[in-house]
Each structure stands twice: as structure tokens, then as C-alpha cells.
Assembly symmetry: C2
């Protein structure tokens, strides 16, 4: 999963921070996929045969592409990835608790700057 | 929607037969898409986040490809298309009522020969 738009930030991550980051990353991924699942259920519930189900397929194709591009767990781009996820509300500041103040500021700034 | 495996049969279709064929074609398409929709609902109901929804996407991609290849409404291949749909139970003999005996036999023979 690579994000071509993610900017590279040279940052050291301690072992403890890596654990927090991994958990935060998966929490955001879980939320986003759960939202896609709920939307898919609604689309199916109100879809008209025969072609309604293919509208769902089109939707899932787009969402999967977004997720594949967005969730890039390389430490060199993780600040940028988190900033984007925070901006889009899949990540919460509470998920980042335990990261250094610098990192949280970088992530929040990226979020503020782009929002 | 083209079926590369459909064999070409030179057959004349009367105006009345074309109406029946169009209706039968859409009945089969409706049934197949409805079955995909029902299966999709079951998959979603029992899917586990975060990745369950992408299994549904994989399933829909395969089914859409099958449907796109199978439903070819050219009169030159329609006997073969109907034979396949009958074999797969998306089409019923009752849907074909009103077609000439020759056509029904060709469709049923194709069905018998391949089943």
C-alpha cells in the first residue's frame, strides 16, 4: 500500500512509538473499512436488480483503490500518512497518545495545513 | 457483453420470437444478478472487518466478469447463449415458450450435450 503523495520525513521512532503507531494505523484502517462495509450494506439494501449490485462493485473498486494508496506503513512517510488520516477523521488524536510531542505536532500541523 | 465460446448458429428470428427472446434473456440476467445480490448480502452480514469487505469485492469482480462474458444478445449466438444459461439454470424452458420447436430443440440439445 503506497501513497505517492506522501512526503518523506526523516524521523526516528522508538520501539514504544512503533507499537503505538502500528496500533493507530490499524485502528484507522479498521474504521475506514468498517465505514465502507456499512455503506455497502445500505447500498445493497436499497439496490435494484439487475444492475444495482454492479454499482456497489464500482463503489468498492474506488474505495479499495483509495485504501491501497492511503495506508502506507513506512516510517519514512508515516507522519504524512497519519496527517492525512487525521484530516479525514479515520485517525483520532487519542490514537497517537504516547508519541513524542514533535511527532504529534508534525501530524497535527500537516492536518491543519491541508484542511 | 460478448461470449467468446458461443458458437454461431444461422437462425432466423421472427418479430414475435425476438420479443420472447429479449424477455427470456432479461429474465435470466435478472435471476443471476439477484442471486449475486443475495450472496453479497450474506457475505457482508458475516464479513469480518477490516478485510472482509474486500473479499466481497473479489467475488463481485469475478461474477461481473462472468456476466459480461455470458450475456451476449446477438441473434447469431443466442441459441448457444441460451443453451448455456439453461444448463446453468438461469434460464427456464418456460421462458422460451413461443419460440419455434427447432430453436427449443437446439437450445435443449446444447444444454443436454454440455451437461
Amino acid at each position: 500500500m503506497k501513497s505517492p503523495t506522501a512526503f518523506r520525513v526523516e524521523t526516528d521512532w522508538t520501539h514504544a512509538e512503533k507499537k503505538i503507531a502500528r496500533k493507530a494505523f490499524h485502528a484507522a484502517l479498521y474504521r475506514q473499512c468498517e465505514a465502507v462495509t456499512e455503506r455497502a450494506k445500505k447500498m445493497l439494501a436499497s439496490s435494484s436488480p439487475p444492475y444495482g449490485v454492479w454499482k456497489l462493485h464500482d463503489y468498492l473498486t474506488l474505495e479499495r483503490d483509495k485504501v491501497d494508496r492511503r495506508y502506507d506503513y513506512r516510517y519514512s512517510v508515516l507522519i504524512s500518512v497519519f496527517a492525512q488520516l487525521l484530516r479525514d477523521k479515520w485517525l483520532k488524536l487519542a490514537d497517537l497518545e504516547g508519541l513524542s510531542e514533535d511527532k504529534i505536532e508534525q501530524i497535527s500541523t500537516g492536518w491543519s495545513a491541508e484542511s
